[in-house]
Symmetry: C2
Subunit: 403 residues, 2 copies
C-alpha cells in the first residue's frame, strides 16, 4: 500500500483526488500496488463532501505519520507550500507539486533536500499543465545536447491573443472574456505580464541546461501593450503574435532566457497553437526540433500530470530520480541583447524616416491605420543596434520575429 | 562501465555510433557511469573507418561476452533481428531496437522473454523516430484511461501528400521527388501502402490498451489512389488529406484499429503537420488531447531515441521496466465498420444522383473537374451504410473525415 497525503483542495487538488478515485483500479494495476489517498489538508477548517473523512487540520499529523509515502502539494505560492514541502522531504516523504513559483524560486534547494533524504521531488505539472514535457526532456531527450527551448507557456495570454487575432477584440475585451470563461484570474497580473511564463521557462532552462535560473534573472515582457493594429500588421505578412518563453544555450555554460511577445510565421508549428493550448518546442543536436502540445492548465489535465508523478514514485519509492540541477549564479543568465533577429516595429513617422533610420526594411500595411503611423520589419540585428537606429523615432511596439 | 554491442551499421546504426561518440561525455554524466560501444556487427564482412576495431563477424562473441550489458538492434526485419534479439535476451542482455516490424509481430513474446530474464526490451525509436512517444504514453499519461490514438505515422507519405497539396504534383511526381531526396525507398511499398504506419499503430495500441495487436488484424489502406482532384476538393472546404493510423478503445476491451487516408480540418493541429514530420495525438480521460510532433525518421533523430533507451537502461541495469502488454487474440481487433463519421466521396455522376443516394450532402467543387464527376461530404454514418447508399454510383474515392 502506498499512502498519499494531499495538501490543497482547490482546482488542482480536487482534480488529483478525482483522478486517483476515478482511475483507481487502473492506477493500482499500473503501480502493482494499492495507491490510497490517506489525508487531505486545506486552508479552511471545514470540509464536507465525499472526502471529508480524510480531512486533517494539522500538517504535523501528515508529517509524523510514517505510513505517508508521498505528499502532493497543490497549495501554490512560496509560503505554507515551502514550509510543508521542506518538512515533508525532511520526514523522508517524496513530494509532488504543480507549483511553478515554488520550483522556479526554490527548486535547487528542495531537490538537494530530496537527494539528502533519499526521496523524490517531482513537478511535471508545473510546466505545460498536463503536457508531458519535463520527463521527456530529461529522459527521452537525454542523448541530446540541448540547445534551445521555445514555448507558448501560458494559456491565458494565448487565449487573449487568439481572440484578438481571430475575433478582432481589443486586449481589454479579450481579457474580460477570458475572465468570464474562467481562463483568467480576477487579478490577471501573473499571466498577462508574463510572470507565469517566466517561472516556467526558468524550470525548463534549469532542467535542459543544468543550472538554476531564477525568475528575477529573466527579462519578462507581457502582452498588455499588444494592440489590434499590431495583430493586423503581423497578419498582413503571414505572422501571428505569440507570447514566447525562450531559453537558448550560450557559450561557456551561460543561458539566454527571456519572455516577450514575438511574431511567429504562420507556417511554424507554434503559430497553429490557439486558444488556451500550450506548446513547447525543444531543439537538440540529434533530435532536431520536437514539439509537445496540449492543455497547459485546467483541473483534470493538471491532475493527470500530478498523478503521473505519484505513479512514478509509487512504482519504486526509493529509486534515485535525481534529475537535479546545479546551483545558479548571478552571472549565469545573459540578456537577450546579443541575440540577432528581425524586428517588428510600429512607430510614429513615415516610411521614408523608417528607411533612413533602419536601411533595408519590409513595409507593413493595414486598413484603417492613421497616416502618422508606420510599421515594418527590419533586417536581422541585435537589440542594441535596432534601438540605436530607432533613436529618432517614437516607437510604440518593438517585437522580435522568430525565425 | 556499461558495454553496448551494436547490430547493424546502416542509417540508424551509424547514427547510434555517432551520437554515442559525439555526446559521449554528456551521456556518461547523465548515466553517472561510462557507456562504451564494445562491438559492432553488420552483414558484410568488411569494415573500415573509425570504428573498425569494434567490428566482429560472429554474433556469438557478443552473445557470450558477459561484459555486454545492452545490445542495440538496428538490422530491421524479422529474420536475423529476431534470432539475435532472442539470443541476447536469453543471455541476460537488455535489447534496444528501432525495428517496428519485429516489435509489431513479436513484441509480446520478446517482452515476456525479457521479463523472464530480468532484462529490458525497449523500442522508443520504433514509433515516431525521434519523437518521444512510447515512454510518455506509458509513464507521463499513466494516470489516464486512454481512449484514442491518432497519428501521422509515416514521413514519406506525409511528404508526398504535402507536395501534392502545396505544389500540385501528382502522386507519381511527388513519389519520385521523395525518392530523389532520400525520403522514400526504391521500393516504396511499405510506406505508400500503409504497412509502416500499420506496424506503428499496432505498437501504440498495444501499449495504450494492453494487448498485442497484430498488423494482419488491422485494415490498411495506403495513398496510391489519392489524386490531385481529391486534394483540390478537400482544400475547397478547408480540409487536408492525411494518412492516419488510428486506434480507438471499444467496449469489452476490444480495439478498433486501422490505417487510411482521411480529410482533416485545417484548424486541427494534425493538419499543420507537413513534409516528413510526424505527429501523434493521444486522448485520455484526464488529459484530454495531447500531441507529440517531430521528425519521424532520419539518422540522428532515430538514433536520439535509441540512445535515450540505452541511457535509461544504463542508469539502472536491473530495474523492472516491464510496460509489457498481454497476448493478443483473433477477436480482439474489430473493424472500423461500426465507426461513424462524415465521408468524402468522389464518384461518377451528378449532384442530383448524389442527393438521391445519400440525402443531405455538402457539395464540393474544384476548377477543371470533368462534368461527369461529383464530389461531396456526407452526413455522419458508419461505413456499411455509406457503402449501401452509394451502391448505384461508381465511386472513385471514399475517405473518412476526421472530426
Ligand atoms: N489551476 C490550474 O489550472 C493550474 C495548472 C498548473 C499548475 N497550477 C498550480 O497549482 C497550484 C494550485 O493551484 P489551484 O488553481 O488549484 O489553486 P486554488 O484553486 O486556489 O487552490 C489552492 C488550495 O490551497 C489551499 N491552501 C491555501 N493555503 C493552505 C495552507 N496553508 N494549507 C493547506 N492548504 C492551503 C486552499 O484551501 P481552501 O480550499 O481551504 O481555500 C485551496 O484548496 C498553484 O501552484 C498553481 O500555480 C495550477
Ligand atoms: N531509417 C530510418 O530513418 C528509420 C527510422 C525509424 C526506424 N527505423 C528502423 O531501423 C531499422 C534499421 O533501419 P536502417 O534504415 O538503418 O536500415 P539500413 O540502412 O538498411 O541498415 C541495416 C543494417 O543492418 C545490417 N544487417 C543486415 N543483416 C544483418 C545481419 N544478419 N547481421 C548484422 N547486421 C545485419 C546491414 O549490414 P551492412 O551495412 O553490412 O549492409 C546494415 O548495416 C529498421 O528496422 C527500420 O525500420 C529506421
Amino acid at each position: 500500500m502506498v499512502n498519499v497525503a494531499l495538501l490543497g483542495f482547490g482546482t488542482v487538488g480536487s482534480g488529483v483526488a478525482e483522478v486517483l478515485t476515478r482511475n483507481g483500479d487502473l492506477i493500482d494495476s499500473r503501480v502493482d500496488d494499492l495507491v490510497r489517498l490517506k489525508y487531505i489538508k486545506r486552508a479552511r477548517e471545514v470540509f464536507d463532501g465525499p472526502y471529508q473523512d480524510l480531512f486533517v487540520k494539522d500538517f504535523s499529523i501528515i508529517e509524523q505519520d510514517p505510513q505517508v509515502d508521498i505528499v502532493v502539494e497543490t497549495i501554490g505560492g512560496t509560503g505554507a507550500a515551502l514550509d510543508y514541502t521542506t518538512r515533508a522531504l525532511k520526514a523522508g516523504k517524496s513530494v509532488v507539486t504543480a507549483n511553478k513559483e515554488l520550483v522556479a524560486t526554490h527548486g535547487y534547494e528542495l531537490l538537494q533536500l530530496a537527494k539528502e533524504h533519499g526521496v523524490s521531488y517531482l513537478f511535471e505539472a508545473s510546466v505545460g499543465g498536463g503536457i508531458p514535457i519535463l520527463r521527456p526532456l530529461t529522459s527521452c531527450l537525454a542523448a541530446n545536447d540541448l540547445t534551445q527551448i521555445t514555448g507558448i507557456l501560458n494559456g491565458t495570454t494565448n487565449y487573449i491573443l487568439t481572440r484578438m487575432i481571430q475575433a478582432g477584440l481589443t486586449f481589454e475585451q479579450a481579457l474580460k472574456e477570458a475572465q468570464d470563461k474562467g481562463y483568467a484570474e480576477k487579478d490577471p497580473t501573473a499571466d498577462v505580464d508574463g510572470h507565469d511564463a517566466c517561472r516556467k521557462i526558468c524550470i525548463l532552462a534549469a532542467l535542459a541546461f543544468g543550472h538554476h535560473v531564477y525568475p528575477d534573472q529573466v527579462p519578462t515582457e507581457g502582452i498588455r501593450h499588444v494592440t489590434l493594429g499590431d495583430a493586423a500588421y503581423a497578419d498582413s505578412k503571414g505572422y501571428k503574435i505569440k507570447l514566447l518563453g525562450r531559453a537558448i544555450r550560450q557559450p561557456e555554460g551561460k543561458v539566454c532566457a527571456f519572455v516577450a511577445p514575438h511574431l511567429v510565421a504562420d507556417t511554424a508549428p507554434l503559430a497553429g497553437v490557439e486558444d488556451v493550448f500550450n506548446a513547447i518546442a525543444v531543439t537538440g543536436n540529434a533530435i532536431g526540433d520536437v514539439m509537445f502540445y496540449g492543455r497547459g492548465a485546467g483541473k483534470l489535465p493538471t491532475a493527470s500530470a500530478v498523478v503521473a508523478d505519484v505513479i512514478d514514485i509509487a512504482k519504486d519509492l526509493k529509486r534515485d530520480r535525481h534529475n537535479g540541477w546545479a546551483s545558479g549564479s548571478p552571472d549565469l543568465v545573459v540578456s537577450d541583447d546579443g541575440l540577432t533577429s528581425k524586428w517588428y516595429v510600429r512607430a510614429q513617422g513615415t516610411m521614408d524616416q523608417a528607411r533612413l533610420a533602419c536601411g533595408e526594411i519590409q513595409p507593413l500595411a493595414r486598413s484603417g491605420a492613421p497616416t502618422s503611423e508606420v510599421a515594418f520589419l527590419t533586417a536581422p540585428m541585435p537589440r542594441p543596434l535596432v534601438l540605436d537606429k530607432l533613436r529618432g523615432m517614437e516607437v510604440a511596439s518593438l517585437f522580435r520575429v522568430l525565425d
